[in-house]
Assembly symmetry: C2
Homo-oligomer: 480 residues x 2
């Protein structure tokens, strides 16, 4: 069972209770969005009360016409009601002793209409006077796999290191779904929309203290308390990385932000200064955010910037060298003694073998992997960036076996020589069923063994560079 | 039948003959690489002569111990021999009247060894004295779908607008395979490796005059004739776009280039000046190259930079606005009269509907599509950038039908209102078979109907911006 409020209140940061409701009431439309199904699917073990005047039963649960009719206590209410019905709901919630209301309800301040803006303020005021905290409006609420709270279908129940706060419910859902597929696991995710009561600062502060959360991720459109946010970011980055995707950094984006979550976007320059001064990590897209979160949470931390790139072809190796160097990584050339060693087993090609280790010049896979072992064992290499056979390689005779051989031997080499490793596997955007299966299976194997998988060398190199930068800043004491 | 040399020589640019051999001899290793299979698979209709002392028959074809033993004439020879056997081969080719030798043979100048560098020069000298042109060494040769020449498995036989010259065989193969999947079709592709005889200038010059080729693409590691290359690029961009991916722009990349194709990479600054002064289009990866080639070749040309972004969610719409503006596109806000029009059918949400058209605020798909029609019909919009339901939307009840409805209605709207359109479909990197099928099917439908598909808003926006930039330069006469 979830912890009772009384156990948490004194010892934990003040927001802890919002994640541990003994019961949840979903008020309003029941089928869309599907909160009841989400909670059931996520294995929520408290009581679920559908509240709606149209049904007496919903998905095997008894439904109630009003929350006042619910027999037991209600800790957490999810409102899918139209905005005009909220004053009555809050009145009822106050009487019922509800502690948190999450407002899926939208069309408030983000409409830009003065009466709606006023209404939003009024609603929050009423709630606070009743001792109720509000998440939203215009949001999806909480995904907390360990506690069975959810606003997505099919996300893993397994808990993980990443805590996400997001002003956009769509972006939160997208990151939970696509990130989960790539092996990212979440401690808690909060979609908080307009942030009329609890805002980015409250959730950031919560994550600083949350022991489950080792990496903080934030999608932010605007900040309500600038100074507090700045100070909290500095506190946060001193103890855990904070990866921020800022929406609305252009004029067109800022206009979209206003009608999305009623936020003031702030200028690009202000945000760049903020990232720099707080040591937080800016990213430019959800894909890049997932790339960086994966490197922080699913990979052993590299001791430095020296990378061995292994397994691309000729053009691919040139690209690997270019992209690693551009991302600020170091690609050490092989020393003479190692070249002499390679000459013993690869006399024909040894002059061409270097770092990046070009799979197209080694003649045989045995030569490639033998050279890869020497490189991986070398103490001037901090981590490995490996590339499997290309997607068109699957068309060749024995291509499938070759692909899996890359996957297996890379894992074995990284483990044997104790080097952190990221692996590039081509995206499975292929028309042939068997190719898609092979590529997904390769990704799954790597991901389950703790090796992050990237769709391209450049995305891997950039993500790893962000991780290294954070740790370098931290050890240089830049931020402390 | 392919054209005879005599028909071509006088009327066509001098290199035309290399694409129209009446017969091809493959000399040396027969199974790997699989040139015989590639030619057969591509439907080559001339004679194929396997030449190898170990077999008397290969894949249903009679094999010969030497090219001197081949009964008919040979126009084109593919050498898979070790370098030391090349002098004899060229001697034989001279006697046989061969016009072109493609050297898959490698380990020459790219080894960096003086004797190998000398050998490469010697081989080319011998060939030229016999009137033979050399492609390579260290290359895959020609992919010419119309003529049945190929170095890849499973590429479409259909011909298209893109001519590619590539110093890397792996990159050429990669672009042919992944590009073909996305709907790019090629006129001719040449992998030319070290370019010891025919080099980037020769192939660029050829493509300038080749009527099949409407867009030129080049992967280049180094240039042998700088001034000629510069002049040809200026000529080329005046008549067709030239998209260039330059390998070896960093110190580490330049080192990799030396051992890959024995090229001098040149500095980043020199290349940037070259791109600017010639109006050619630089890209930073093969993915970006495919993105841009797709926009040039598979999409109607937009009349200007004004884009309508349709169908992303709240956070996605903010991202769309940001990324379009960053890419230099213009995202016009909807005018008051259109908002009044929208108010008639979407009174609840009309204040929130704008460009980008946010699918999460429209309440119903009908409202979204009705608004999309108004926006697409508006003459202040030059083209559409549409986004299908997100990948996690497939998990929702009716999610699959919803996804296909987006695909179908977008196509119908773009066609009705005669607006060029690019469509964002999430990549099919999903573990569930049915999702992968749906996403690939959606991509296929769009692609076959002539709408380029991109995996993200940012990649679409950047590619389209490159296309617009090229046409703007051209009409401003910058380069002419």
């Amino acid at each position: 069972m979830p912890l009772a409020f009384s156990q948490l209140e004194d010892s934990q940061p003040s927001l802890e209770h919002i994640f541990h409701p003994r019961s949840v009431a979903i008020v309003g439309t029941l089928s869309d969005p599907a909160y009841v199904q989400w909670l059931q699917g996520a294995g929520y073990r408290g009581s679920i009360y559908p509240v709606n005047s149209s049904f007496s039963e919903f998905l095997g649960l008894r439904a109630y016409p009003s929350i006042r009719d619910v027999p037991g206590p209600i800790d957490y209410v999810i409102s899918c009601l139209p905005a005009r019905l909220l004053p009555q709901l809050i009145e009822d919630c106050g009487q019922k002793g509800v502690r948190v209301i999450q407002l899926f309800t939208a069309r408030m301040a983000e409409t830009g209409e003065s009466d709606r803006i006023e209404m939003e303020g009024d609603i929050v005021g009423r709630a606070r006077r009743q001792g109720i905290r509000v998440i939203g409006p215009n949001c999806m609420g909480i995904f907390y796999p360990e506690g069975g709270l959810s606003f997505v279908f099919g996300a893993p129940r397994e808990s993980g290191a990443v805590g996400l706060l997001s002003q956009s419910g769509g972006n939160a859902t997208e990151l939970v779904c696509t990130g989960s597929q790539r092996g990212i696991r979440f401690s808690k995710v909060i979609s908080y929309g307009n942030g009329a009561d609890l805002n980015e600062c409250d959730f950031l502060e919560y994550f600083i203290h949350d022991r489950q959360t080792r990496v903080i991720a934030a999608y932010i459109e605007g900040v309500k308390e600038g100074r507090r946010f700045f100070n909290l970011l500095r506190q946060a980055t001193a103890v855990k990385p904070v990866v921020i995707f800022k929406g609305g950094r252009t004029a067109a984006g800022a206009e979209a932000v206003a009608s999305h979550t009623a936020s003031l976007a702030g200028t690009e320059a202000v945000w760049e200064a903020l990232f720099r001064q707080t040591g937080s990590i800016p990213v430019d897209s959800l894909e890049e955010m997932a790339d960086v979160l994966l490197a922080f949470s699913a990979m052993a931390r590299p001791g430095g910037r020296r990378v061995a790139c292994i397994g691309a072809g000729g053009g691919g190796s040139v690209f690997a060298a270019d992209e690693c160097e551009r991302a600020g990584l170091v690609v050490p050339r092989l020393p003479p003694e190692m070249r002499q060693e390679i000459k013993k087993f690869a006399p024909e090609t040894w002059l061409l073998i270097n770092n990046p280790l070009d799979a197209s010049v080694t003649g045989s896979r045995d030569t490639l992997f033998q050279a890869a072992r020497l490189v991986a064992a070398w103490d001037e290499i901090d981590f490995l960036l490996t590339v499997t056979a290309p997607i068109w390689g699957l068309n060749l005779v024995g291509g499938m076996a070759d692909f899996f051989r890359f996957v297996d031997i890379y894992m074995e080499i990284a483990t044997t020589y104790k080097k952190p490793m990221a692996v590039v596997v081509p995206p499975a955007n292929v028309p042939e069923d068997w190719k898609w299966q092979a590529l997904m299976e390769g990704q799954r194997k790597l991901s389950e063994a703790g090796f992050p998988v990237y769709p391209s060398i450049s995305r891997a190199a950039r993500a790893l560079s962000r991780v290294l930068e954070y740790h370098e800043q931290l050890s240089a004491g830049v931020n402390i």
